[in-house]
Structure formats: C-alpha cells, structure tokens
Symmetry: C2
Subunit: 354 residues, 2 copies
Amino acid sequence: MTLVLSIEEQREILDMKSVLDALEILYREQAVGRAVTRPRSDIIAPNQTGVYGLKTMDGVVPAFDVGAVRINSDVITWPKVGASKRRVKVPAAPGNRWVGLVLLFSVSNGEPLAIFPDGYVQRMRVGATSGLGAKFLARKDSKVLGLIGSGWQAGAQLLAACEVREIEKVVVYSPTRENLLNFVEDMANQVGVEVMAADSAEAVAAEADLVLCATNSIQPVFDGTLIRSGQHLGCIKNCELDVNAFKRIDRIVVHSQDTGPKHLVMEAAESHGGDRGWDESHGDIDWNGVPTLAQLVAGEAEGRQSSTEVTCFANNLGLGIQFAAVGAKLLQIAREKGAGHELPTEWFTQTVHP
Amino acid sequence: MTLVLSIEEQREILDMKSVLDALEILYREQAVGRAVTRPRSDIIAPNQTGVYGLKTMDGVVPAFDVGAVRINSDVITWPKVGASKRRVKVPAAPGNRWVGLVLLFSVSNGEPLAIFPDGYVQRMRVGATSGLGAKFLARKDSKVLGLIGSGWQAGAQLLAACEVREIEKVVVYSPTRENLLNFVEDMANQVGVEVMAADSAEAVAAEADLVLCATNSIQPVFDGTLIRSGQHLGCIKNCELDVNAFKRIDRIVVHSQDTGPKHLVMEAAESHGGDRGWDESHGDIDWNGVPTLAQLVAGEAEGRQSSTEVTCFANNLGLGIQFAAVGAKLLQIAREKGAGHELPTEWFTQTVHP
C-alpha cells in the first residue's frame, strides 16, 4: 500500500530529534559515496498573475532503502514588505493552499511507498541541517541563541539549536512586531527555555553565541560588522548575510558546493529574472573547495579550532537525499504508529512496460 | 479534485491521433520558446538484485496550462537474449508491476491536477514523436512501413505511421518468431492494412519506404548497408541503427540536441556503468547544429528535398514537455468523458508554506 500522510499527521509523529538523527546518518553515507542527489532545478514560466515555478529534486539513499522525489508547484510574487523585498509563494490552489509533494520509492523493488505534502519535512530538514551545522561548528558552551526572523522556518531553527546545544535563552528579532510577539509566546510554550523579543538585529548580535537567520527576505538582514568573536552564524539563504559577514567569517562549511539551483526560464518570464537574484546574490563566492556538511559530520573536514573563531554554516540548499532520509524516518514511524491512510499501490503501478 | 487514471482507462480514451495533435501543437510552442523542459536525469544506485534507477524529467507548457513531472522507479537488469544484449526493467513491485508516474500541475494556480502511471502515455509519445518525424521527412507517397521489433513500443510506431501516411502494407521483423507472429496478428486486427512477418531485417529493408526500429536491444539491429534510396529511418534508441546507417543518411532531424540523459551513478553501481552504453553508443555524433523536430514542425528547418534523399529522425529521448502536452490532452478527454477516479486535492496540498 502507498501511504498518504497529511501535514497534521506528520507533525504529530516526527520530532526534531528524529530528523537530526536521520540526517546525521545520511551525511555519513553521503561522505563515503553511498548517497546520490540530483541538484534542484526550477522551471520558471509566465502565468496570468506573474510567474509559475516547477521545482524538483531527487535523491537515493540505499541505506534507508528509499529514493525520493520532491516537487514544488508554486505561484510566485515579489512584494515589498517594509524596506525589504521578499519572494512570496502564493497559496493559489483550491482552499488557499500551497502545493509541494514528496514521493518515496523502494530501492529494493521500485514500489511507491508514500506520497505526502512537503511543507513540514521541508521546515524540519532546513532546521535540522542548520542544527547539524551548529552541532559541529558552534562553541560547546553556547547558551544564548539569536534568531533573525519569526516565521515558519524560524521555529524549526530554534527547535534544532535547542537539541544540539544546551540553550538557556533565545533572543529573537523580526521587523513586524506583532509577528515577533506571537512567535515568542508560541515558542516559549514549546521549549523549556526563556524566549525574548529584541528590538533590533544589533540587540540579537550583542547577546547571542549563535545567530541564525531564517527569513524570506531576498536582501541582507544581518550586518557583518555586528559579529562578535567566537560566534557561530547560520542562514537559510546566503543573501540574508551581507558581504561583510562573509568577509569576517573564519571558517565556513556549506551544505552543498552548488552555487544555486539550475534555472530554466521561459523568455516571457525573464522580466522577473532579476528577482531570482537571491540565489546568486553571493555569486562571487567560490564554494569549490569549501568543506561540506557531509565532510564535517564524517570527520573529514575540521570543525571549530578555537573559542574565538567565527564559524558559519551556509548554502543550506535543499537536497533530494534529505527528503529520502527524513522521508524514510517518517515512513518508519508512521508504520509503527499506524498513522496516515493507505491507497492501493496498484493505482501508482502498472502492468505495462514504462 | 486530483484525477487518478489507470492504464486501462487511458487506453480507452486516448488514441494516437489525439497524441499526434497534442505534440504537433507542443513543438510549435517549443519552437517559439513557449515551452520549457528539464532534461532527463537518472540516479543509478545498487540494490540487492543489481541496480535501482530513479529517472525524472519535468516540463511546463503554458499553452496547455500544465506542468508535468514524470518519474520512473526501476529495477534494472541486462540479460542477453539470443545474440543481443538487452536492458530490461524488472516488474519488481508488488503484483509483478512496473513503477512509472506522471504528475500534472496547473500553471495558473499550481494545483495537482492528475497522477497516473506513465506506461501508456510513454508508448504513445514515443510512437507519435516518431510519427511526426515521418510526417515531415518521409516521402509523401510512402506505402510500405517496415518495422524492426514486435514489442510494446513497436505497436505504437505502427499506429503513428498509419496516421501520418497512407500505409497499405506493414512488414515486420523480430528475432523471436512467436512474438513476431502474435504481434502481426494483433496489429492486423487493430489497423485496416496488411501486416506481414518478414524473415530478416534485410527483407524489411528491401520492401519498405519507412523503416522504424522499436526494440529494447542495446546493440544495432539495423545495418546501414541495407538502406535504399529515398527511405526514411527512425529509431527509439540511436544504438538500434549502426554506424553505417548514420553515415548513409542524407538528412537527419533529432528530437533533442542533448546527447543523452544526465547520469548520477553511485560508485557501487559502476560495474554496470558500461551497460549504460546504449545512451552514448553514437557519442561520436555531434548533435549540435542538427535541426530539431520542433524546428522542423514549425517550418524553421527544411524537410525532405527530393524523393531520393535518405532521411532519419533520431535521438527520440523523452522530454518532460511531452508528458505535459499529452497529459493535458488526456486530462481534457478524461474530464469530458468522466473517466478515472478523483481524490481530494487536499491530500496533495497544504496549509503550510513549502
């Protein structure tokens, strides 16, 4: 049977620790060449309201007996919110919903194992990847987490950081005060540590041992001159850190050496081409030769060498193998708990040669 | 609602003429840059029985309001059948079934429109692509179709050729006599023309105006010295035609200038690497600058210039946009006829940001 799992069902059964565990195994597999990932590609085409994006990435991890395909079918706009320009996906599908899917297949016999919306796993994998960066790069005695951003992704950053370090206090800044206060209240209820709103990125930087950016801004939200000795930095998009930050960092580790997704843009959508800039905003940085998270986790690349080093985990691009690893974990737990609902595998298989 | 359509339901409602029509519109769109396709990629990894392959391709065609992702999840072996080596996909999924899927999404609002097994559309798109090659390259007075191969794909070649030319007789050769005779009987019942078994590829070549190869051989099945003046040739894999054939051809048009899919091979599966050779078997031919089917259909590339030219349509690689175009047509007809069964779109969409 092919399992369908709603976001609510996923949220109920898959916690941050499970995701961190699955990804740590994954990176050890990747480091020895036992995982293969096909870099993300984006087809960008015009539609009536602006731009349509069809994004896909694939990965196979035999150790988990899973191959995964992640698909996003997005209606995209670029509004300006306050001073910063954002890239916003519109929930344009019926019922004001977003469209992203993960499909899991068996490496042993090819069968479709599961199909489910991607949003929860995406959030958890972004958080956990950042968390593993912090686990292997941040000072062991880090106590204060600084967060820039108070949206959907910021929460997962907080959960992951609290799993990998004994965080005692979280200081958060985001420009829309109402969102910030709601986030602080919500997260304080979820984790057993103090969560406080800050008035500025400066205030966050002044206090934090780790500074993690998790926004949908396509312009810098963190000024490198604020960095203090010994801090660890993270971001979900490289453009969140400004060029000064990259200059100040002593040790950087990337998720992938790919500089960005492969874009295939229809000419009629080219007018929006400049707005894709967030992917290439630090295009002048050559990631070749920069250690990867897989190398770091496997002990093939050095972690922090002193308490004063400024470290950074960047280029947190999604990889198909992450959806294979986290998807396999989700599937395992769902089967144990009887979660989700099953569809006949015959709907998704065939008696004719493909 | 998201439509699920079985192979049987697809076969009932989608005929070759509809597929030819949809693809001809597609190529005109592609020729003017109004269709974007992401070249096929294959992840190849080891499994317990040999090799697992996860193959994907994507395409967006705004004119049809459809984006498509095609996924194949294959267990692959390379047995030797008679004198020739073949690449065989094992129906290893529960119930001895193959696994290939097409997912269709709306360009307007992103919603998942349909999900269905790919085998029937795959067969029809290979046949119709070859058929369009013949429509624009074969002699208008072509009466005799020669076929090399008697499997699943060969039937679609026959159907397509009979749609684009007034074929009066079909001559077929394949090495396993029983398969050949079954095919001849079966196809004679489907089309209103004489279908005959031949004893050899030589016998086919001696009589045919068009020679179409449609086998799963990864070695040549047609010897170029057999070619007669004015013939049109086609193949579903370039390696079916030998090097002599490519030397003898006066005018060649390709489906895509890509020399082959992008393979990402896990080292432990490298022992099978040489067997992927069918993709690169004519790797010494440079397709750059060779006209594409899109250019030919749109009148941007010249077709046949005389009754004596030897023409060829080659490199019939699958393109994501074909699954978008044929999928859109299938969906349109299915809606008109109320075919398939609908699943709640909410299963495949989400209220959280992906």
